[in-house]
Amino acid sequence: MSGNNRRVAYVAHCLANQNAKVSEFAKCAGVVTPLIDRLRAHGYEIQQLPCPEMSFLGVARWWQSREQYDTPGYRRHCRALARTVVDTVSLHAEHGYDIVIIGLDGSPSSGVRLTSTKTSWGGRPEGAVAGGSDRISGMGVWMTELKEEFESRGLSFPRATGIAMDAQNFDMAAAMLEMDEFLVAKENI
């Protein structure tokens, strides 16, 4: 593959490591195989974003909504992680790669097109067992900070999408068809 058609996908951490998911949200053992197989079939190399929720609150964290994560301290944590990511992206940019970001739609942190909301959450956590948070359009806190780190360096945020594994009624087959369209669109540019 020549330098001009090299491709790399920066994927949300949990798409390559379901152990990082908050309790009850892991859909498979480790790697989300349908997505990774798709990316490899389309000639993408794989880079993995860090999981800011995991490094901030650990594997035993509670479910939280975007509103609960949207604090100055968590944003600072996300921005620190973003610096390392953009440093790595620069290596791929220097080598002429096309770069895409695959987030996790529905996530309070890693959503690209869809994030979570539950303004009533806080305090005693058992209220979270009934139905979880709702979904609204927009980016999660981590993706917002990552985008701002790109822009603060005068760089464009790469083309990005999300796989909605954190949304209710998730359909993997439909999500993969949509992913194919996203990846093929890049090939046709």
Partner: protein
């Protein structure tokens, strides 16, 4: 309350070269790692992929600090954690020096290191599985 789901509770900190051996910046490296990525996927390992070892040290250090923190938390909750390094690459291709410093700072033992050779004889899936199994057994015995 933490409820069960499909996670494996097995995590591998992996050298970038083992996942992306054909990257543009690895052209000068002789040898290829064989089906390590496939084995990790098929056997349900979660990945914590290190950044490419050709990046400047400050990037590797920062990533290692974050990843080591995650790993320490996994260990606290009874997950298996291993490091997959590459024979012959600087810092095993996985920032081993940075990880040693990060785990020392956390007062957490360095996870077992599995070193992948690039010679053809060591490149089979069975060979990779045997090395991972050996590391997992050692962790179990130690626990």
């Amino acid at each position: 309350m933490r409820r069960d789901d499909s996670r494996s509770r097995r995590v591998a900190i992996v050298a970038d070269f083992l996942i992306n051996p054909d990257a543009a910046f690895y052209r000068s490296i002789e040898g290829r790692p064989g089906p390590v990525f496939d084995v990790l996927v098929e056997d349900g390992w979660g990945l914590m992929k290190a950044p490419p070892h050709v990046l400047k040290e400050s990037v590797g250090r920062s990533a290692a600090i974050t990843t080591a923190g995650d790993a320490a938390d996994y260990l606290r909750y009874d997950h298996v954690v291993v490091i997959l390094a590459v024979e012959g690459l600087d810092q095993g291709g996985v920032w081993l020096n940075e990880f040693e410093a990060a785990f020392r700072e956390l007062k957490t033992p360095m996870p077992k290191i599995v070193t992948i050779d690039l010679d053809p004889a060591s490149r089979s899936a069975d060979c990779v599985r045997a090395k991972l199994a050996e590391a997992a057994v050692q962790i179990a015995v130690k626990a």
